[in-house]
């Protein structure tokens, strides 16, 4: 009898548990389904541009050199990534391009060869396929290709486009272009106008002096640091500015928040109303968020790292104010009593009764924030105009050089991880080794 009652009770309790076990995932799934529809994820598949992803992936590890002939003037230019700053001086070209007056022979490697012929004509020897010849006939592009075009060819009246693994060739009335792809980040170390371009590191270190005015190492460093395509010096400054924003913002906020936190802590606030007021101010500062502070401050201070630092400072004063005052509310009264009983003055009471207790909590919080603020500073920089964040977002928005974007991303990730390790290291060191309670 008791057993049947127990059976029934257990059955009921398990029925309830099953209900909960199913209800929670069901609610979550239902919500995700709603989000799925609200965000139009089914439509995403159509909108997604996988060719973009491909471009991006290819750009990350390779670059292309453009060989362009202006079909009106017949002038041939060779430019890395087609950029002004990556253009070979007139009459010069990499060794796989042979300039022979009206003819230009471009060796794409592996038996693929493009020849620019006079009068806007070209021939393209494709390994394993044959030769494609094309020219401009009046206003129209004509090419000797079979009726059904292979899928790597696109031909219209105004344009011929041939995409082969060795490279890409396009012909329009105005110009003929050949792209040759190569691994690596182009001109990462030296631009074309540097005497050190294409010189091996060993030759740099031990070889003959290349520039009479400068020693090889000093010259190489100067040319690398001032690289006009990669702007290494500017990038280094940008990283430094970002870290500076995080550093000033975080520690500035900690310094401002500490005395205010006393006014907002239950056990230290002289007035209840004052405590309430400061709590609301902290909530406000956090609620407004660094992003909006940045916008508000940029009127007064203009673009630059100081504005970003102040924005972080304002938000974090709110966060720290809250965290610190909670830490202060949890202090151990005994230590304060101990110091008070010796006749210590109020300031001494805080110095010895309170500060040593809260320092570990405070310090570890501040250091945690330092790391996360490095990330925030990247984002804020993108908005105020400062630091690596601006370079990164601008490079991304203009969607041009994904290798630069990759470079910045790698740098940002390394920067954040470095700050993470640094703050972890400081946390371990200071909190264990801190005996003065500084």
């Amino acid at each position: 009898m008791t057993d049947t009652a127990l059976y029934a009770a257990a059955d009921r309790s398990f029925a309830r548990k099953r209900l909960i076990a199913f209800a929670i995932p069901a609610v979550i799934l239902l919500y995700l389904a709603y989000v799925f529809l609200a965000f139009d994820i089914p439509g995403l598949a159509q909108r997604a541009r996988l060719d973009n992803a491909q471009t991006l992936m290819a750009d990350i590890y390779s670059y292309k050199t453009h060989v362009t002939r202006d079909n009106r003037s017949g002038e041939v230019t060779v430019a890395i990534e087609g950029e002004r700053r990556g253009t070979y001086p007139q009459g010069q070209a990499p060794d796989w391009v042979t300039l022979e007056g009206a003819r230009t022979v471009i060796d794409l490697g592996g038996g693929n060869r493009v020849t620019f012929l006079p009068d806007a004509a070209l021939s393209f020897e494709i390994a394993g396929y044959g030769t494609v010849a094309a020219r401009i006939d009046g206003r129209q592009v004509v090419a000797d290709l079979p009726e059904d075009l292979p899928d790597w060819v696109s031909l219209s009246r105004s344009r011929l486009d041939l995409r082969t693994p060795a490279g890409r060739v396009s012909l329009t009335r105005n110009r003929t272009e050949v792209f040759r792809y190569a691994f690596g980040w182009e001109l990462f170390f030296f631009t074309l106008d540097s005497p050190y371009h294409g010189v091996s590191p060993a030759a740099l270190a031990f070889g003959p002096q290349l520039d009479p005015a400068r020693s090889n190492l000093a010259g190489a460093w100067a040319d690398f640091w001032g690289n006009a395509m990669w702007h290494h010096a500017d990038v280094a400054w940008a990283i430094f500015e970002t870290i500076l924003m995080a550093f000033l913002g975080t520690f500035g906020a900690a310094i401002v928040a500490l005395p205010l936190a006393f006014l907002a802590a239950k056990n230290f606030a002289p007035l209840r109303s004052l405590r309430f007021l400061f709590r609301r101010i902290f909530d406000f500062q956090r609620g407004v968020d660094a992003l909006i502070w940045t916008i508000l401050l940029s009127r007064a201070f203009g673009p630059g790292p100081l504005t970003g630092a102040l924005a972080i400072l304002l938000t974090d004063t709110g966060s720290f104010g809250k965290i610190f005052s909670e830490a202060l509310e949890n202090v151990d009264k005994k230590q304060i009593d101990g110091v008070t009983s010796t006749g210590a003055k109020p300031v001494q009471r805080y110095r010895f009764g309170v500060i040593p207790q809260v320092t570990p909590v405070l310090l570890s919080q501040v250091l945690y924030f330092l790391e996360s603020n490095t990330r925030s500073a990247t984002i804020i920089g993108a908005i105020t105009g400062g630091g690596i964040g601006l370079l990164l977002t601008q490079a991304m928005i203009t969607q041009k050089d994904w290798e630069e974007v990759t470079y910045y991303i790698v740098l940002v990730v390394l920067m954040v991880m470095a700050m993470d390790s640094l703050s972890g290291w400081l946390r371990r060191r200071l909190i264990r080794g801190d005996d003065g309670g500084h």
Partner: protein
């Protein structure tokens, strides 16, 4: 010398200390006993001015202690050292720094904020630690010490204040019997050698009997006994503790029986 007149503390409706009155006319070692909640701590905290009294007066050397304010109040606190059950040290600071806190009242705020204590003080602190047998722990953090050692650091801090009176609020309640004995002996020695008044809250009868010259018993905030240890019979104790017939002294004992049979009072009652 020290005169309490109807010293009273009210917490809301609760009378924690109810018209406590007694008088010390020379430095003695005074024990205050009573069960938990009897008002012992509150009494001591009022004497040190950690807690404000509700009523009554406390005179020391003719001065009205309760009316002192600000710097004068703190000066009084520095003359009237306090030792706590939980030691109340700053655990993350080293032992010497903790002892040096005893000089805070005398030194300028600014210098102490940066931990700049004169080296004379540092030497004296080490001497005091040495006297209490824990000089070798000087550079350690307070939290790294055992309970008994921490309590001796607290005593050292009190001595550093060079006080007229030492108030000790259940100084041995969190200690094991061995450490309890060391600490009580240290307090006794300070009383005897330096001639300082020591007032100690104790919750065990035998400790009071063994170390004190005079014992005060409190119950529900009132002083219900005031006499020599010899007058403190089991019957009186039963009254103080509000216990019934089954009360046994051993229940409150923490004493270590001396194996040589030399246990007992260290000295004759005053």
């Amino acid at each position: 010398m020290l005169v309490l007149e109807s010293l009273t503390k009210r917490f809301g409706a609760n009378l924690a200390v109810d018209r406590a009155t007694f008088k010390l006319d020379r430095p003695i070692m005074l024990g205050i006993i009573g069960r938990s909640g009897a008002g012992k701590s509150t009494l001591l905290r009022m004497m040190n001015r950690l807690t404000d009294a509700s009523d009554g007066s406390l005179m020391f050397g003719g001065r009205d202690v309760l009316s002192l304010k600000g710097a004068e109040k703190r000066a009084w606190q520095s003359q009237c050292a306090m030792i706590f059950q939980q030691f109340n040290l700053v655990p993350r600071m080293d032992v010497v720094s903790n002892v040096l806190h005893g000089t805070l009242n005398r030194r300028s705020t600014f210098a102490t904020l940066f931990n700049l204590f004169p080296s004379d003080d540092i030497h004296r602190a080490i001497d005091i630690l040495d006297r209490l047998g824990i000089a070798q722990h000087a550079p350690k953090r307070a939290e790294a010490l055992s309970g008994g050692q921490q309590q001796r650091v607290a005593i050292a801090r009190a001595l550093m204040q060079d006080p007229k009176i030492i108030l000790a609020d259940e100084p041995i309640a969190s200690l094991d019997p061995m450490n309890a004995q060391v600490v009580m002996e240290a307090l006794r020695r300070i009383h005897e050698e330096d001639g300082r008044t020591v007032i100690a809250n104790l919750h065990t009868l035998d400790t009071a009997r063994r170390y004190c010259d005079r014992v005060i018993g409190m119950r529900d905030g009132r002083i219900v006994f005031d006499g020599t240890p010899a007058q403190l019979t089991t019957g009186v104790a039963r009254d103080i503790y509000g216990a019934d017939e089954t009360f046994s002294e051993e229940a409150t004992s923490t004493e270590i029986r001396d194996p040589q049979g030399a246990a007992g009072r260290m000295h004759a009652p005053a």
